[in-house]
């Protein structure tokens, strides 16, 4: 049984200007111990997918579709049951650590609170566990530092504290939403290595959301590429980078400047801008920017095609490597 199964997920927001379709018909699965990289830019719906899974959408948002976590249908759960899962069996880390660290409480209090609430530990035992977790994320001098306030830590350290807090109850699923985007590159490298180490140690399923292809390449086992609220390609990571099929995936890989290839005089850019959808387009969301667009691309949404074992593409065209 897969750890997480998502089927036909749809996320909508009612705004003053109309209904925004953030995610349209998204399906994927995640097993324990594997990392699925969710790649997309703005308007792709990647962050909204994460929030929908945790049922943390804003008030004007709604989700539809089936989400099964460890076999349980999440939409059938009450808010209380959901609260029991969040922070406990499924956890989330964000781009900005200060968005989940309370500036008025010491780190110790925030961490012990979680353990007391979800696992009924006493304050003393909770503190011991918290210190262990801080050590697992390589915070030096954890036993002393735990009594400090979040703002007394540097950016990289705050990120580690946030990760430690998320992992306190040894969750089975970790959703990481752009966990390293705001970090300096040398600190990012440390955090990426840390996430890899922690996943191996705790055997979690990790849903890694990012726009950075390097981060995807470093951590993911499988990749799902999103554009305009829809999935366009999914494959194991080596295969996706070696043989990208979808015009968007290819365009993305070709347009990113990289350190490991010689410098071309000009980058191969994808024209146009990522979409902002007030109403889902009838056809493929990438059609307006696609060099190989055909009339049918704007008329109906593309279906999944199997290109190779575990490699699927959603495109009207006949694609070959």
């Amino acid at each position: 049984m897969a750890l997480l199964e998502v089927e036909d997920l749809e996320v909508r927001f009612t705004t003053r200007d109309g209904v925004v379709h953030a995610v349209n018909g998204l399906s994927f699965s995640l097993d324990a111990g594997e990392t699925l990289g969710l790649v997309g830019e703005s308007g792709s719906g990647k962050s909204q997918t994460a929030l929908a899974l945790m049922n943390l959408l804003a008030d004007n948002g709604s989700r539809r579709g089936r989400i099964r976590f460890q076999g349980k249908d999440l939409s059938s759960l009450s808010e209380r049951e959901m609260n029991g899962l969040r922070g406990n069996r499924m956890a989330m880390i964000f781009q900005d650590p200060m968005s989940c660290l309370n500036p008025h409480l010491t780190v110790e209090r925030q961490m012990t609170e979680v353990l007391e609430h979800h696992q009924g530990l006493s304050r003393r035992r909770a503190r011991r566990r918290a210190i262990e977790m801080l050590q697992a994320v390589h915070i030096p001098d954890a036993a002393r530092r735990i009594h400090r306030y979040p703002h007394e830590f540097s950016g990289g350290m705050q990120q580690r504290v946030m990760i430690a807090m998320a992992l306190l109850c040894r969750p089975d699923l970790l959703i990481a939403d752009e966990p390293t985007t705001a970090l300096d590159v040398t600190v990012q490298a440390q955090i990426l290595a840390l996430l890899k180490e922690l996943q191996a140690r705790f055997q979690m399923g990790v849903l890694l959301i990012t726009h950075d292809l390097g981060v995807v390449a470093a951590l993911s086992d499988r990749v799902l590429v999103l554009y305009g609220g829809r999935a366009c390609e999914t494959a194991p990571v080596n295969r996706l980078f070696r043989h990208p099929l979808h015009p968007y995936t290819r365009g993305l890989l070709e347009s990113v400047p990289r350190l490991d290839t010689p410098v071309d005089r000009r980058l191969r850019a994808i024209p146009g801008s990522p979409p902002v959808f007030l109403a889902p387009p009838r056809g493929c969301p990438f059609a307006p920017r696609c060099a190989q667009m055909e009339p049918r691309c704007t008329q109906s949404p593309p279906e999944w095609k199997n290109a190779a074992p575990e490699h699927r593409v959603a495109c009207h065209l006949e694609l070959s490597t």
């Binding site: 990289g156 300096d184 600190v187 990012q188 490298a189 390097g214 490991d260 410098v263 980058l267």
Partner: protein, 328 residues
Amino acid sequence: MSGPPLLEVEKVEVHFRLPGALPWQSRRLRAVDGVSLSLAKGRTLGIVGESGCGKSTLARAILGLVPITSGKIRLMGRRIDRCPPNTLRPLRRHMQVVFQDPFAALDPRMTVGEIVAEPLRVFEPSLDRRGRQARVRRMLDRVGLASSHLNRYPHEFSGGQCQRIGIARALIVEPALLVCDEPVSALDVSVQAQIVNLLQDLQQEMGLALLFIAHDLAVVRQVSHEIMVMYLGRVVERAPRAPIYTAPRHPYTRALLEAVPLPDPERERARKRTLLQGDLPSPLEPPTGCAFHTRCPRAEERCRTNRPRLIQQKPRHWLACHSPLETF
């Protein structure tokens, strides 16, 4: 490439005084701590570094947005540091800027046409309205925007388009130097390439000198002829592009390059690299001696006590290090 360089920065320091713990105390933030560089017409100098390295402060000091504490800055041979505003103003024509946040850089209450025309009002007051409009249209066209956008407002456009508007505004008076402070960091990945191409094309057409500040090493490599690496307000290495990326001599430069994850999973996971330990020190309390010694895998005793000077190793390769990496 003859004659004096377009831009000369000589041992510039920018220090800020911040309040200390007690009312009469103050602390000194050495944002830029002795930086020198020169830039010739038509060339691009890329400046890279992480938080607290002072690259943005350096850019703003060059632009005259922030006063410098000591040192000299010369634009086209004329001193522009500590210059009375009225003397500086006409020189500004030759030095313009593109900022990181494309939306914040545009006045939300003005139309695109008004925004792009503004430098013309200052530097070519003899132009009448029609003349200005014609120039604005031409410029918008050059940056890939339609003239129908003249009367629209910034919030109606995407990030990439707003950045084009910002570039149009900067280049309408045809400056010799364009300072780009993280011009693509806030843009979507698929749009970054467009803007990078645009800047390079315009540089070719107009003979611009670019001061390109960014934290993304791959982007900087794409556009720069020469690269300067900064750490905690100081220059640690400066060299043409090829040596920096293939044979860096400063341990920090190498650490930076090794830290960037490659979009190639097989190669990325097979990499052997040494990760830097610890966090970036705060610029308020820089380490003694060489600022990098607290994280440097090659630190020696003298790195802790003596600040290394920036020494020329080869014709255009400068290095500030006591125990540099050997060339390989």
